[in-house]
Amino acid sequence: MVLKHASLLSLALLTAGFSETLTDRMDLAVEKMASKHGVEIGGGINSEYFNSDLSGSAASDSLYTYETTQFTSFDMDMSYRPYDFVGARAILRFHQDWQTFFATRSRIVGARWLSMDGNIAKMLSFNAGDFKQKYTPLTLWAPELDLVYEPEIFSSARTRLMDDQFLGDNNRLLQGLNLNFAKRINSPVTEIRADAIGSRIRRAEFLDANGWQALRFTNDRDGDGKLDPVSLATADMDRYFMTGNAEALLWDNIVVGGTYQALIDDRDNFQPAVFSKNLQDGIIATGNQAYLDGLSLNGGTSVVASDLRIIAAHGGVDGAGFLGNSNLVLEALGEYASSSQSNVNAWHFRRDSTSKILFDYQNDLPGKDGTALNLQLGAGYASEGKFAVKLDADYLNNSEDFENPLAQSPTFVASRIMNTENDLAGGRLYSTFDALNNGVYKFTPGNKAAGYQLAPFSKTSYNNGVFTSQEISGFSGDPVVQLMLPMGMATPNRTGFKTRLTGEIRSAYHAIVDFASMKEVKSGLDTAGAEAATFTQMGGGVMLELDKAFDWTTPLDLSASYVQTKAERASLAREAASPNIEVALMQFGLTYRFFTKWRILGGYQQADVKSPQTLVQAGVRNQFDMKEKQTHFRLGVEYSLSKKASFLVSGGLLTVDRDGTHRGTDAAAAPNPALDSHSDFSQTLTQALVKVRF
């Protein structure tokens, strides 16, 4: 009974394995079908033309104001099962840009997925290589954005971008060995499960400091008006992740389980920079010894290694299962996790008074410990075909020091996507909707510019990697979509609750109402001396399936949503601008199949943002109240070539209007209206997309 309700449990505690439940895997019929010998080839073909034309006061007239991506790519998904219970899978991508005639290096042929998978005796399944796995939101989880009634024209684009990174369903992408064991037994304990993972999540690698990999940008943390560089790829030593998870189902309606995780930096693997004596002597002789500064191969002057251990316990009960009422939803889930950092070692680079290079080594530095608590309650009733209503309530209490990169690493790391050659990927042309909905697999700059050379790279905001401690502590997210819980339910330094009321009538009228109230557990972490911030979110949306409501033959769906999120705290004396952040996100969507194979898709998104901004100008930290309005409109016509093939033509407009009102400086100077700013830009978007799946 509890397995039937598995899909309703927001924690999805009972799910393990690669995007299918263990029940599926153990099902004899499914296994027989999947166990056929030989090669299966599937995949997809995408062909796209996408153009973005930039204009506005924020655009630079002397740099490119247009960007076009046009390509054909073929993803070939090959599965080979030589035997009933073991096989190999590879996904190859062939990518061809239409505009590269003689640049043969640009014709990409690459392997995107490689794994060996199997299932022994229908009890033990394993994956070696690439795999996807999730446990619980505080242990192993990939937090994703939750947009209420996102228009399909935008959600399908986002899904495609996430699929490119193998994201979805909160599964965490890892590489290593994954084991899942499950066995049904006849006793009060109806099923036992055990999972284990051994994975390497970082590989010691030297990457060019001014290459694109080392110069990814994220939010403006230091308030200088520019997005800050965050290196998500370099690592000075290997990092390993090992975990074990055990669960038991009692009477099929109660689940209890525990998880142990360890993230370990391989200190013995750390490679400091080593210079030949000839070079060292030669450079010192010229007085340019600063060139030799740096400790690690990646140029860092300090390197910190640590071990992190997480112990968690979870439990849940399906009350409706005990009552035997399939229309009723009555469930409770709880999870508690504690994290403990230990064996913290640090290497520091410095020079003494004679310019001699020295390395300081500190071991057994204090680590930080934290806890997290997550309680969920779900109650509802569904009368089949008539109505359904459900209330989900979450309570969380995560300490400021709770750290678990495997549950906290966000899957959305906002990036500049289109027209990056106009602002050199800086913040001047940043738009949430551009980061959310656009992506370029292979972008080759047309001109040498700071931050990247004439070599191709990918532009996407979706991230399937695991952050380091430093990256987690420095991440705040895009306030439009990540203000309250930027790292999902495992976000540290949050306590409070959130609720969602969902209802539907006759499967035609749907509504969602959200309310959340949280606050920081510990104050002053972002701004010294500040009080703890409070977060509130309220809003909701409706979706109408008019064809079902009025028995039409042609589907017509309308949706609308409005969600307002605030982060507030009292100002400090030195803060001239209000520290509060207010975001209102509005979305409207339309999907209309007006003929058998023809559809119209439309969508409108608007984000109104009020936030403080600090700009350093001529050495002075000026504070502004920023008001920003972002809009994104898209309209398209889609033709279904077949069940799995479609052709979409769409056009749209993305606009951003920013007004900055000067409120003063850190030194308490008076507002200066002459420093008030206004900038705006718009991107005219045109797209033609062919998608084929086979």
Binding site: A90, S199, R203, F206, D208, N269, F275, S276, L297, S458
Partner: protein
């Protein structure tokens, strides 16, 4: 007998060759075994087939010891999944195209990293004509003619422990090595007919290959060579009454001067700022052979045969010289012109069939005389050039700088990494903060492997010998194989078996000396004497005791030595040399339960290499011990699918300089062959 069947690309291909007759475009006679029916059926099957193997591996090598430089990484990890896909397209019963490509994924992914490249490792198109008697291959192929003309020499070990032999085989397979066949690229045509009228048989094999080409690049990342080098080899045999075979083989290697100059930047060469003038080296070898087989005369279990080959070589080298500085006219002027000969004769006598019957014995006596100026590039190029593999990034003190023969023999690493200024750098050290225009998006395979299939030239082999690049522990007597120049003497191999191969014994001996004195550091030395003696024993206990599971133990001892008397040259006195290296092997592998097998191996090399502490002229014999042991547990999940866990340790201990370091190696492997 192995506890379980380990699949491999090379072994699979050779098996397929036996069945298909054209899988790897092998040179030689078409198959004549009883499986012709199967072969014909498989040949007639058209379409596309996919086979190959997938591997997931985690390996950790931890370096420790007093000689390890502090502050450097002491651990090197390898963690990856790799798939080799062997795609065969057969448009007709008599033609096929084969593509072997590799997909490699190191754990973990970087977050916006570029595409993981596919590597095409083998590509050929081959087929049969004339009712299967003529076989051709275009593209990649492997060829072997004779030990003096076309051959790929490799280290030979007696009763090598299975646990190590598997890893060496894997390392060699990276370069498609095995059975002394040399991988080449070009055109290969083979014809064979053994039942012509008059009890005659003919075999011929012609191979045309391009060995090197010029890219014109000065960056090491894109370097191939500075000469356009072509090879034409052939082998012709006439068999009479199935008892006598007359043979002729030749190999011509030709450097195309005009093509080389057109690709190299003549003006840049003329200015001699970017690189030295290329050295053109042509090598022609003609060999005659006579083989006698006593099978027609002797009956029963006795066998005797004689193989004799006589080869003559001409080596000519020349170098471009600038004769006109105004018009930049280049002329290649002769540097050397050498003629040499080589003679090889092997008498084989035996009783019984190896592995069958109560008793069998085989004796092989060989005589060779290879002159110092005998040059045969396609037979003398060594496939093993030892280098540091594991923990190679870490500096280690001592005379070998961290080099360990056993590490070089058995380990290799393959990774796919971003092309960065470090990997793209031309500096040996991590000096590179030079930016070479990369953007971290491109990734390329990087390989650490002591094996190779490159055809070397005489000047390169001379440099290898002079700079100590050859490992005397496994390459002392015949570093360039049977065609090693400046060797004359006798070799002896004795193999005996009893109880249907349950017990095997072998013994080897070699008494060889240099024909002429060598030049050592510009001094004229005296000829050296080389000796080899050793033997081994292998017992299949499962056969003796009628056990259900395999249980095999083996051991061997092999000692090589080089003696050179003291000499004086150009007023410099050099002490006598008495170098010895002895290798011990011990092996146990046993089936335990169902698919579970245990493997254990031990190897030890004891030697007294020269320690050049006071300069090259003074010889201080060292006291070096290199050994390794390993334990492995292998579980065969099903046919062709294995999980292997292994732990081992390598030790290096040189007593005179006090150099000591160890490497602990742990590995876990999942392999699926399909």
């Amino acid at each position: 007998m192995t506890a379980s069947v380990r699949p491999s690309i090379v072994r699979t291909s050779l098996t397929a060759l036996a069945l298909l007759g054209s899988a790897w475009a092998e040179s030689g006679v078409t198959a004549r075994d009883p499986k012709e029916t199967i072969q014909r059926l498989e040949q007639e099957q058209t379409g596309v087939s996919l086979t190959g193997k997938a591997i997931s591996n985690y390996e950790r090598a931890a370096l420790s010891g007093d000689s390890v430089r502090m502050g450097q990484p002491t651990v090197e990890n390898a963690a990856f999944t790799q798939a080799e896909v062997d795609l065969v397209a057969r448009p007709s019963a008599h033609t096929q195209g084969r593509l072997l490509f590799r997909v490699h994924q190191d754990w973990s992914n970087y977050y916006e990293e570029g595409p993981n490249p596919l590597t095409a490792r083998w590509f050929d198109f081959n087929g049969d004509l004339l009712d299967g008697h003529l076989h051709y291959a275009v593209g990649d192929y492997r060829a072997k003619h004779s030990p003096l003309t076309l051959n790929a020499p490799a280290p030979e070990l007696i009763y090598e422990p299975e646990i190590f032999a598997q890893t060496r085989q894997t390392a060699m397979e990276e370069f498609f090595l095995g059975e002394n066949r040399l991988p080449l690229q070009g055109l290969n045509v083979a014809y064979g007919r053994d039942s012509l009228p008059g009890n005659l048989g003919v075999e011929s094999d012609v191979a045309v290959a391009r060995l090197r080409t010029v890219t014109g690049s000065t960056s090491w990342l894109h370097w191939t060579d500075d000469v356009e080098k072509l090879a034409l080899t052939s082998s012709w045999k006439l068999q009479v009454l199935k008892a006598v075979r007359f043979g002729f083989a030749q190999s011509y290697i030709y450097d195309d001067v005009a093509a080389s100059r057109s690709k190299n930047n003549a003006r840049a060469l003329a200015s001699e700022k970017l690189m030295p003038m290329p050295l053109y080296e042509d090598d022609n070898v003609n060999a005659f052979s006579l083989d006698l087989d006593g099978a027609r005369i002797l009956s029963g279990p006795f066998s005797v045969s004689l193989e004799t080959e006589y080869a003559m070589s001409n080596y000519r080298s020349s170098q471009d010289t600038l004769v006109d500085t105004v018009d930049f006219v280049l002329q290649d002027k002769e540097v050397a012109n050498l003629d040499g000969t080589a003679l090889r004769s092997v008498l084989k006598a035996g009783y019984g069939k190896s592995g069958a019957g109560p008793f069998s014995i085989g004796l092989q006596v060989g005589y060779l005389k290879n002159e110092k100026n005998f040059v045969s590039d396609l037979a003398q190029s060594p496939t093993f050039l030892g280098r540091r593999i594991l923990n190679s990034r870490t500096e280690v003190g001592g005379p070998s700088g961290g080099y360990n023969t056993l590490d070089a023999l058995y380990n290799h690493r393959y990774t796919v990494d971003p092309i960065t200024s470090l990997s793209n750098s031309e500096q040996a050290y991590v000096d590179a903060k030079y930016y070479n225009g990369t953007n971290d998006w491109y990734r390329a395979p990087f390989l650490k492997n002591s094996y190779n299939f490159y055809t070397t030239t005489k000047s390169e082999r001379d440099a290898l010998a002079a700079t100590g690049a050859l490992d005397p522990h496994v390459q002392l007597i015949f570093p360039f194989g049977a065609a090693t120049p400046n060797r004359t003497g006798v070799t002896l191999d004795l193999n005996a078996g009893a109880l249907s191969g349950a017990v095997e014994v072998s013994a080897v001996y070699a008494g060889v000396k240099e024909v002429e004195a060598e030049q050592i550091d510009s001094l004229t030395a005296v000829p050296a004497d080389y000796t080899r003696m050793g033997g081994g024993l292998k017992v299949n206990i499962d056969k003796l005791a009628a056990l259900a599971k395999p249980l095999v133990v083996s051991g061997s001892y092999l000692q090589d030595g080089r003696k050179r008397a003291a000499f004086t040259s150009r007023g410099v006195a050099v002490d006598a040399e008495d170098f010895k290296t002895a290798m011990i092997n011990a092996d146990v592998h046993a089936g335990i339960w169902k698919g579970l097998s245990l493997m254990a191996g031990y190897q030890s090399i004891q030697s007294n290499p020269r320690i050049d502490s006071l300069g090259a002229r003074t010889v201080h014999p060292g006291d070096l011990r290199q050994d390794q042991w390993a334990l492995g547990l292998e579980c065969q999940i099903t046919h062709g699918a294995f999980v292997t866990a292994q732990y081992g340790r390598m030790d290096f201990d040189e007593a005179v300089t006090g150099t000591k370091f160890s490497q602990d190696i742990t590995s876990l492997t999942l392999l699926i062959a399909y």
